[in-house]
Symmetry: C2
Subunit: 365 residues, 2 copies
Amino acid sequence: MPPSPHEPGPAPYLITREQSPPNLEFPFCHLGPRVTPTASFYVRSHFPTPRLSAGGWGLTVGGAVARPFRLDLAELRSLPARTLTATMECAGNGRVFLTPRRRGVAWELGAVGTAEWTGVPLSKVLERAGLLDSAREVVLEGADRGVLTDPLPTPGEIAYARSVPLDRALGDVLLAYGMNGEALTPNHGFPVRAVVPGWYGMASVKWLTSVQVTAEPFQGYFQTVDYAYWDTRDGLPPQLRPLGAMQLKAAVARPAPHEEVPCGTVYEVAGAAWAGEAAVERVEVSVDGGRTWADARFLDPPTPHVWRRWRLLWHTPTCPGRHTLVARATDARGRTQPASHDPARGGYMITHPLPVEVEVRERPR
Amino acid sequence: MPPSPHEPGPAPYLITREQSPPNLEFPFCHLGPRVTPTASFYVRSHFPTPRLSAGGWGLTVGGAVARPFRLDLAELRSLPARTLTATMECAGNGRVFLTPRRRGVAWELGAVGTAEWTGVPLSKVLERAGLLDSAREVVLEGADRGVLTDPLPTPGEIAYARSVPLDRALGDVLLAYGMNGEALTPNHGFPVRAVVPGWYGMASVKWLTSVQVTAEPFQGYFQTVDYAYWDTRDGLPPQLRPLGAMQLKAAVARPAPHEEVPCGTVYEVAGAAWAGEAAVERVEVSVDGGRTWADARFLDPPTPHVWRRWRLLWHTPTCPGRHTLVARATDARGRTQPASHDPARGGYMITHPLPVEVEVRERPR
């Protein structure tokens, strides 16, 4: 296997999409190891980064529970911990490729990453609180807060908050204090964040300070006005539903869009594919704009909630010209990506195959 | 009782707030009889007025019911009918007085009226369909439809639709085909509309074509993106809730804002008050900007869901000057109006007392 001369090393940096609050993107053409270094892990913020202290932090657990309580960081760290690997993607990843343009941060492809998360299962904390029979959802609230005006004004300052259904909350959701073997950084939610494996990143509330069990579906800003889509099933008029699981997607890291590729060489096309709550079973790549397809090989085994990096050797054309590459994935349930973006999804869940246009040129002598 | 020389007759016309779709307002200073003539009844439209024929109309009844069925107009008219009087107000009535300005139609005070509605109780139709145990809400859908882009884009064309909770649907909700003793006009929902007494007008779906029972709260455009407010109770972050019952309000019809009133005369201050699902018990009026208050007298008895017109004789000052009038109501449960507009309500439920500034001038000789 010839190593591609175009394969860059790991990129210990991020592209700034918004300076304040920090919205930072991994340059996806630098896709390297299976686990993304923390310094290359995308950052999505809605409000300025709260600067919390380990000593001052506490978690309130309440709502539809028998025994509300408060937990400090030392207590949380004393509970049995778990480490799991999970890929996390922003629900708006790929938005810059949509036409017409949609509101929101103009992510290219790199609002995605994979990390090893360490913490205490949320289920253990809920067990200690004792769920009432009426329990239906769990609202996770962060310390980050502020005022928003677009597209709808908030009632003054609000906190970032998101709910997960009870069955999911009792599954593998983590109250994480570690990322890639170290404490969380401020931008990633220090000292404690939620991690909801398989779901878009908006569910993994950072700077977590409150866990409240509710008897009714929660209708907060970040699951109605924002991070919601139009559900057109059931023969009813469209209904606003909160986004949840990441959708099946294969993304091409290399070549990058508009990259110049030499004629008559062997180029290693590289990318990753993920499927949220399912496993990726197959990735196919076309180097002729979708007319013919070849199976890519995987670098990683199928693992729930973790991406699989893939490669394909491309014998580049002998003559210069423009070429279009595209990749598509199939999951373990036999599902494939949609051919085009569903407008009911707005600026979210951008999972149709995105063509990559490259320029094949004479090799420099 | 000297009749006020300033009392105008009924106003068989409407002020245009939007030409297309038609959004038309009653000039509230012309407040006359208890029942508003249809030609003076405000019109709120979201999409162009559907032109439906009596013969072609049909109502689909389905969802969480044992026996879905379809009903034509002759069948609906053959069922036992009821006539009830109800005041209906647009949830954004008074919006033009808000600062900062809010999005939506800039209603002054006249997006309100009272009519006699004739039709078949929705409960009778639901009984015929046979509710399943899972039934929780009833979604009412109209024939009016279109595309909206602001503040959030719809997933293509959508129909106007709204839900009412089951207990309300089994109460006095009417499938109305008559208004003030005549067939509905096209702008008021011909041939059949819903009437939800005591609720803001957005619940009384016009051009009704579908009744669907659901097991879950409905999350359509017109009860999330639009016609919703931020509920900040329960110690949770703010949640988006659909608007429902009309809130307590006393409105001054005469004098009109900026009206010139003669010195040293007796002017009959006039208005109306309503309370949604409660009854209005008391209206007080201040002619000195809220320092002192006097009880107004009612022209109408307390009747559920119907406004009460009120009057107060004002001995106008002998010297010219600017004066501020204001009215406030108390309902049968002892509740009063809020002192100011709650920002969590956005551009809706504008029920704080609105001061009326008038110019007292020398009488013309």
